[in-house]
């Protein structure tokens, strides 16, 4: 029998990007919250700039439950499993992957909320790709704007606004929806390389701008400004410039004395009472089983684990998994079409050794529906992103652009000359959910406790392939305008485990096609809320984290405001 703990108002499973934000409005509203986190606290001196450890060894200095339950992947329901990744793309710790993420903190553009209706209006319903299960969000950008704003100021996002209450500022993203005010801090500085790229974009008639980042550019709420030392990709920040929830919203929630953080808590299942309501959470810590009763459960353990936890939590009321009586848990999964990029070789050194992946220049002219698709055979597009970031092992892993072999003296001469002369762009593209792409439990692969791991069945479809080709061509054009002497396109990759996963517990008004309602609460178990990108029905062409955080804040605020209705 598990140890029965003292009941609490709310238990939050996972203190990462989403859960770590939600605890703040909850505790500020006076609710008692228990946060269960599989990882531990990490401190600034855990964040040495060590490429081998961070980028190749999966953070061996920290408890990584995720590495023991890496989802399996197959491209379709008849395909064999793809080779399994050795390291989970996400990490466990208080703050979760916000410790080592790139911290690019975008708002979605207005089109992303209305892909179906806008596409139908402008081009006709036949332009929605066959087999796609995409729906409009239950609300538009204007509903989420308030929460984007709250999160931007709470965790500290730097950036250049492009649209304040409809007033367009060409220094920022002129395609963004209206925001009520400036970012709390100016954008990360440009470098002579990113300036060169911005000039080239302007020469092409495009509108380059610095991207938004949850990275301080000056002292902010007791945290220092970014030192641009690098090692930010899969690396933590030793001066707390990165706005991880571990150094922003979580400590602030702790200061209310109403948040209890339990680390190294391995949540196994969610309990359901005879009334069909959730009653709490089972977890294992240090070999002992516990039951944490709660009036409301918020699941915030990332897309794969959110889905897995629901499917593993079978009960009389939910024989096919929690909140799955409509068979929607795991459906509408997609991983971001972000691998297919372009690299370029320049005839000079770029000095990209310092800086961070969020320090760069973006072009949004070819994203979403920011350009006319009448004569094209796809919908959506891609955001082009070029940045200053280089580490020695990955620098040496560069392509030789057909100009040298892969090893030996000629290779050595090539990298001696070119290790700092190449650049890799990051192209995030529209990705849609499809009937054939979904998550479920793997029938054979288990974690060390014997629980099935999550299985991904998914592959990119024709629309994604066309968007990828189109976006890569635009990137090649940009690099060439900046003086690149060679470019190379990288492959699209698979829809296997990724940092940009979406869906599985989609949000929408229709319970037949969505797991949670417009507020993030289960259509079937009303005191179960779900946080994170698993509720998102479209990806846009930009990083998901800020949207997941804005949604989490909104769900938490809704819970606090309608506490009696949801909790009893």
């Amino acid at each position: 029998m598990p140890v029965n703990l003292k009941p609490t108002d709310v238990v939050v499973v996972g203190l990462g990007a989403a859960g770590g934000v939600a605890v703040l409005p909850l505790t500020q509203a006076g609710l008692e919250v228990v946060g269960l986190e599989a990882g531990t606290w990490l401190r600034p001196d855990d964040f040495a700039p060590d490429e081998l450890r961070n980028n190749f060894r999966g953070w061996p200095q920290a408890v990584q439950k995720a590495n023991r339950e890496i989802p399996t992947h197959r491209t379709n329901r008849n395909a064999p499993l793809s080779p399994r990744q050795a390291i989970h793309p996400m990490m466990n710790a208080v703050g979760g992957t916000t410790l080592h993420y790139w911290a690019q903190s975008w708002r979605l553009n207005p089109w992303d909320f209305k892909v179906v209706s806008e596409t139908t209006k402008r081009y006709g319903a036949s332009r929605i790709p066959k087999g796609s299960t995409v729906e409009d969000w239950p609300f538009g950008l204007e509903e989420l704007e308030t929460y984007y704003d709250k999160v931007e100021y709470e965790i500290g996002v730097s950036g250049q606004a492009g649209n304040i209450k409809g007033r367009i500022d060409p220094r920022g993203n002129t395609f963004e929806g209206p925001r009520t005010r400036e970012y709390p801090m100016p954008a990360l500085r440009g470098t002579s390389f990113t300036d060169m790229m911005a000039d080239a974009a302007r020469k092409l008639g495009w509108r380059p701008f610095p991207g938004p980042a949850a990275v301080t550019t000056r002292a902010y709420q007791g945290r220092a400004g970014c030192a641009y030392h690098g090692y930010c990709s899969r690396g933590g920040c030793h001066i707390n410039a990165k706005g991880s929830t571990a150094v922003t919203s979580i400590p602030k929630a702790q200061a209310t004395k109403r948040l209890s953080v339990v680390t190294e808590a391995h949540v196994t299942t969610i309990e359901v009472g005879s009334n069909g309501r959730v009653s709490g959470v089972n977890y294992i810590k240090g070999g002992t089983e516990y039951f944490q009763p709660a009036k409301v459960v918020l699941v915030a353990s990332y897309v794969y684990e959110n889905v897995r936890l629901l499917l593993l939590s079978k009960s009389k009321a939910f024989p096919n998994g929690l909140s799955n009586n409509h068979g929607q848990v795991g459906r509408h999964y997609f991983s971001h079409n972000q691998i297919g990029g372009v690299t370029a070789l320049f005839p000079k050194r770029l000095n990209n050794w310092y800086g961070l992946p969020a320090q760069g220049v973006a072009v949004d002219d070819w994203a979403d529906d920011n350009f006319d698709h009448s004569g094209l055979d796809f919908i959506g597009g891609g955001n082009l992103w070029v940045y200053s970031d280089r580490r020695p092992i990955s620098a040496a892993g560069m392509s030789t652009y057909g100009r040298a072999p892969r090893w030996g003296s000629a290779w050595k001469a090539f990298i001696k000359q070119n290790a700092d002369s190449w650049n890799i762009s990051y192209l995030q593209k529209t990705t849609l959910p499809y009937e054939e792409n979904y998550l479920d439990l793997d029938p054979t692969v288990k974690d060390p406790l014997g629980f099935a791991v999550c299985r991904i069945t998914a592959d990119y479809q024709e629309n994604e392939r066309r968007v990828s080709t189109f976006t890569q061509d635009k990137m090649v054009e940009w690099y060439k305008a900046a003086g690149a002497i060679a470019t190379e396109k990288t492959g699209m990759g698979t829809m296997g485990p990724t940092t940009h996963a979406y869906g599985g517990t989609r949000m929408g008004d229709n319970p037949e096609t969505n797991v949670v309602d417009r507020w993030g609460f289960s259509h079937e178990a009303p005191n179960l809320g779900i946080l994170g990108a698993s509720v998102m029905g479209t990806s846009g062409a930009r990083n998901p984290t800020l949207t997941a955080q804005a949604l989490a804040w909104r769900t938490a605020e809704r819970l606090a405001k309608t506490w009696k209705q949801i909790a009893t």
């Binding site: 600034p44 001196d45 040495a48 700039p49 060590d50 490429e51 081998l52 450890r53 980028n55 190749f56 060894r57 061996p60 200095q61 080779p83 399994r84 050795a86 793309p89 992957t97 690019q104 500085r189 390389f193 060169m196 030192a227 641009y228 030392h229 690098g230 990709s233 899969r234 030793h238 972000q338 990029g341 000079k348 050194r349 770029l350 000095n351 050794w353 310092y354 800086g355 992946p357 280089r390 020695p392 092992i393 990955s394 620098a395 040496a396 892993g397 892969r406 090893w407 030996g408 290779w411 050595k412 990298i415 001696k416 290790a419 700092d420 990051y426 995030q428 990759g493 940092t499 990083n543």
Partner: protein, 212 residues
């Protein structure tokens, strides 16, 4: 964050599945040449270590462009890591290095270490192209060694490779700084190399990771 960096992660299952040398592992004769006086290996046998050292010295050679994988001690990095983080690749190295030896003896009549540099390059090219007869999984093993050699040549010296920063100097990497100024990021500037390991900084020396 994105996960599209060139991390070159290889799963254990891949390693075990793809590397297998046609019954050759037991057939390796002991090559006694000059092993006795050498610095002992931590994980590999003396013969395996000597073969690996010879391989890495051809992958990133010492030449007119300066020191290579030998001076970086890349084989020593791999040897140490095979007893630690790369332990799951230990079997791949056992069969792979034996496979190199077996193939070389069959094709050239002597051990890999006894070949001229040019002959060694020819063997490695055969492996890379999976054209080494009787050596199944040769290209997989070649790629595994190449990726580990790059790690061992360009990693933080804390892990036993990139000795004396020869790898970082080859790339022109100016090294770890805890603050980079706007000037340090200019294209026309080449900041002076710091020649420091991350764990030379007092902030990080308190929590060193496992060096294996």
């Amino acid at each position: 964050m994105a996960d599209h960096s060139h991390d070159g992660l290889v799963s254990r299952r891949d390693v075990l599945k793809r590397v297998g040398v046609a019954g050759a592992a037991a057939a390796v004769p002991i090559d006694a040449i000059a092993q006795a006086t050498r610095e002992p290996f931590e994980t590999l046998t003396a013969v395996e270590g000597a073969t690996l050292e010879a391989i890495v010295a051809r992958l990133i050679p010492t030449d007119a462009n300066g020191p290579g994988a030998a001076e970086a001690r890349a084989a020593r990095y791999i040897d140490r890591a095979l007893g630690g983080f790369l332990a799951s690749s230990r079997d791949a190295y056992r069969t792979g290095l034996a496979g190199v030896d077996t193939y070389t003896r069959a094709a050239k009549g002597m051990a890999f270490t006894q070949l001229t540099a040019q002959e060694q390059d020819a063997v490695l090219t055969d492996m890379e192209r999976n054209a080494a007869k009787g050596f199944s999984g040769a290209s997989f093993f070649f790629n595994l060694v190449l990726s580990h050699t790059i790690q061992g040549t360009f990693c933080d010296p804390f892990y036993g490779g990139n000795a004396n920063f020869v790898g970082w100097d080859l790339l022109g990497y100016p090294g770890i700084r805890l603050t980079a100024t706007a000037n340090d990021q200019r294209m026309d500037v080449a900041p002076k190399p710091t020649h420091m390991s991350a764990y030379d900084f007092s902030m990080f020396s308190r929590k060193k990771p496992n060096a294996r």
